[in-house]
């Protein structure tokens, strides 16, 4: 079952990194949120009730609904449709993301596939590393700043899965703080996307290259 979830998560990731339509990315992020929620449900047995509740809310409400909804709102409000000319064409993005995905899983299984590392689940670990790298890859190769925000959300999904792939939990106060910080960060980034759109009439990073030495 975990492998099935990992495959869906990975497919959403590859789809997002190789598609040109902004709303398609956002749907992929929502799918990832739902997959993370399913992963939490599968693990309910080992969680304390409080953190189980917290993780369900975090994945379902925040990652699968609120953040994608807010991104869609920002995109529609600013009339952003497509990633027109990425620095790397969509086909090569597809190839590179697939390589990242396969390599991350391969390395993870090679390192932790044996039972010696009982605490680490190789599927989750590999997929989480792949998601973090793909998020970074999207930030580097895309021009629209809204896509950068999505790359950041993808990275955060990867980090969530990374924390989840290890046994052990953070203190509850820290968990709440982390979630609040991330949510406000994405919210602020969205606001600034709108502000940049109004100020510069375009939402590409190249508009933001005036300050330099």
């Amino acid at each position: 079952m975990t492998s099935f979830l990992a495959v869906i998560f990975g497919l959403a990731m590859i789809y997002a990194s190789s598609s040109g339509r902004i709303e398609a990315y956002i749907r992929a992020l929502a799918v990832q949120g739902i997959v993370l929620f399913a992963a939490v449900l599968l693990d309910l047995g080992r969680l304390t009730p409080l953190s189980a509740l917290f993780l369900c809310v975090e994945t379902l409400v925040f990652k699968a609904i609120l953040i994608p909804w807010f991104l869609i709102y920002t995109v529609r409000r600013n009339g952003i449709m497509r990633e027109d000319e990425p620095y790397i064409s969509n086909f090569y993005s597809l190839v590179i993301t697939t390589i990242i995905f396969v390599a991350s899983l391969g390395v993870s299984f090679a390192a932790f596939g044996s039972e010696a590392h009982g605490i680490i689940r190789p599927v989750y670990f590999g997929v989480s590393i792949a998601a973090m790298l793909t998020g970074l890859f999207m930030i580097i190769t895309r021009k629209k700043i809204i896509t950068h925000v999505m790359g950041y959300v993808m990275m955060e999904n990867g980090i969530f899965l990374l924390a989840f792939s290890f046994a052990g939990e953070m203190p509850f106060a820290v968990n709440i703080g982390v979630l609040m910080d991330l949510f406000i960060a994405i919210f602020l980034l969205g606001l600034f996307v709108s502000r940049i759109n109004e100020t510069f009439d375009e939402v590409e990073v190249e508009a933001l290259a005036d300050l330099k030495d």
Binding site: A167, V174, G177, V178, D210, L211
Partner: protein
């Protein structure tokens, strides 16, 4: 007890500032918080304090707390005149003041955190509050600067969070902890490979916030586009808060017996920062950016000092404190220059000494202090750090840093003196400034001079080498 009051006071004062009706009332609220902050910090400094599991005042963060409090006290005085004379309406200034107070309370919480996870939460909170402050002027350039700041810092901090996860993965058994003292106690049992990965991720992450090269890209933009009181706070207090996180992470490596790896990595980033600062200081065309690069240089020296281990800690604290006071004075004075000349370009400013003698003198004095000429306390701290590097056989590294520092002093001196001397241009306005635009800098610089003489007279610095 004092510690709890200190942590709770910030948000309450911020709330009061939010509902203030005039710029004056908002600025006075900031001043009241600064006074309360100073008093409570002094009490915490002498009495200590613990909130079990989350916050604790120890030997290192007490010093950082005092620096934060002193700088904020000075900035709040300057900020009064800045707010009252601002062209923005009272509603915007009330918001600005409220966020400024939240920013300071988040930094206070970062400094006092005894739990790495909590420290992370508050460092990210400083990023979010700082974004609003940097965007204060609402210009195109401010928008560009704030985008870079919030995006680069958030990515950096995300790396640090991955590092924290790896750190908890390196702990054997089911019981994981992020309490710094608990990690120290069991540091010997940590898994070496996981710990190395965790260290690199955390140093890169927190280093982004501290302005260490090569992940410093946001820093010059944010410092130059923010209003001057905010620039002073960013440079003199925010960078220190992130540096404390680096000191904590390095401490874990020391306890785990892996200080060799950690030292090499941190020393490399330190030297690289000084190098980047030297390259850009020679070609920069904007005086606020010049000061920002000087902050990168000082953070580099502090990182190099941290990499020398516990023995160099007094020198590191002295460097951090000296840099904060001198740089806060420098940035506040740059705010006077910006108000008088209306430009940030070095080429647009000449003859400050003639136009505004007090600002001109403060400008030169701040340069003397930041360039570590005696009696600046930075002279003694840099001497101690470099001396320790020589003593431990790092001749090449120490020589590189010394050469780069010479380049930096030359680059800064040529700009500072060019701006201070000569005939003032036609763009300079004849406004008479309130004393509040001079007193904080004068107090900071006088304190530094006295501190330097005390160090010299007491022979304190000899002990450290």
């Amino acid at each position: 007890m004092y510690l709890i009051i200190l942590l709770c006071a910030g948000p309450l004062f911020a709330l009061a500032a939010l509902f203030s009706r005039s710029a004056k009332a908002a600025a006075l609220t900031a001043g009241a918080y600064a006074a309360a902050h100073a008093l409570l910090c002094a009490l915490v400094y002498f009495n200590g304090g613990v909130v079990s599991g989350y916050f604790e005042a120890d030997a290192v963060n007490r010093v950082f707390l005092l620096i934060l409090s002193a700088v904020f006290a000075g900035v709040s005085v300057y900020n009064y005149d800045f707010s009252v004379k601002s062209k923005f309406d009272s509603h915007k200034l009330a918001n600005y003041t409220a966020v400024l107070l939240l920013f300071v309370s988040a930094m206070t919480a970062v400094l006092l955190s005894s739990n790495l996870g909590l420290m992370w939460v508050f460092i990210e909170a400083t990023t979010l509050a700082g974004a609003f402050l940097i965007y204060f002027n609402g210009t195109k350039h401010a928008l560009e600067a704030v985008w870079k700041y919030i995006f680069i810092c958030s990515i950096g901090i995300a790396f640090a969070f991955a590092g924290i996860i790896f750190l908890s993965a390196s702990q054997p058994g089911e019981e994981k902890t992020l309490m710094i003292s608990a990690i120290h106690a069991h540091a010997g049992e940590l898994d070496k490979l996981w710990l190395k990965i965790a260290f690199v991720l955390m140093i890169v992450g927190f280093g982004t916030k501290a302005g260490l090269a090569p992940v410093h890209a946001w820093l010059p933009d944010a410092h130059s586009e923010a209003p001057s009181p905010v620039s002073a706070m960013l440079s003199a207090t925010l960078l220190n808060s992130a540096m404390l996180a680096i000191i904590r992470v390095y401490g874990i490596m020391e306890h785990a017996g892996m200080e060799k790896f950690a030292s090499q990595f941190l020393m490399l980033m330190g030297i690289l920062s000084v190098f980047v600062a030297a390259v850009y200081i020679m070609r920069v065309g904007n005086y606020k950016r010049l000061l920002a690069y000087s902050s990168i240089e000082n953070m580099g020296i502090i990182a190099a000092g941290v990499s020398l281990g516990q023995a160099a800690m007094p020198a590191v604290l002295l460097q951090a404190g000296g840099h904060s006071l001198a740089k806060a004075a420098f940035f506040l004075t740059s705010g006077n220059i910006l108000r008088r000349y209306g430009v940030k370009e070095i080429s647009g400013v000449t003859g400050i000494l003639k136009k505004d003698p007090v600002t001109g003198r403060l400008w030169i004095m701040a340069f003397v202090m930041i360039s570590a000429m005696p009696p600046s306390p930075l002279f003694f701290s840099e001497l101690a750090i470099l001396g320790r590097m020589f003593a431990s056989g790092m001749w090449v590294q120490a020589a590189i840093i010394m050469i780069l520092l010479t380049v930096i002093i030359y680059g800064m001196a040529s700009v500072v003196f060019k701006m201070a001397f000569g005939e003032p241009g036609a763009n300079a306005v004849d406004e008479r400034f309130s004393m509040m635009r001079y007193i904080p800098q004068a107090v900071f610089l006088t304190a530094l001079v006295f501190g330097g003489f005390l160090l010299l007279a007491g022979g304190l610095w000899k002990v450290k080498i």
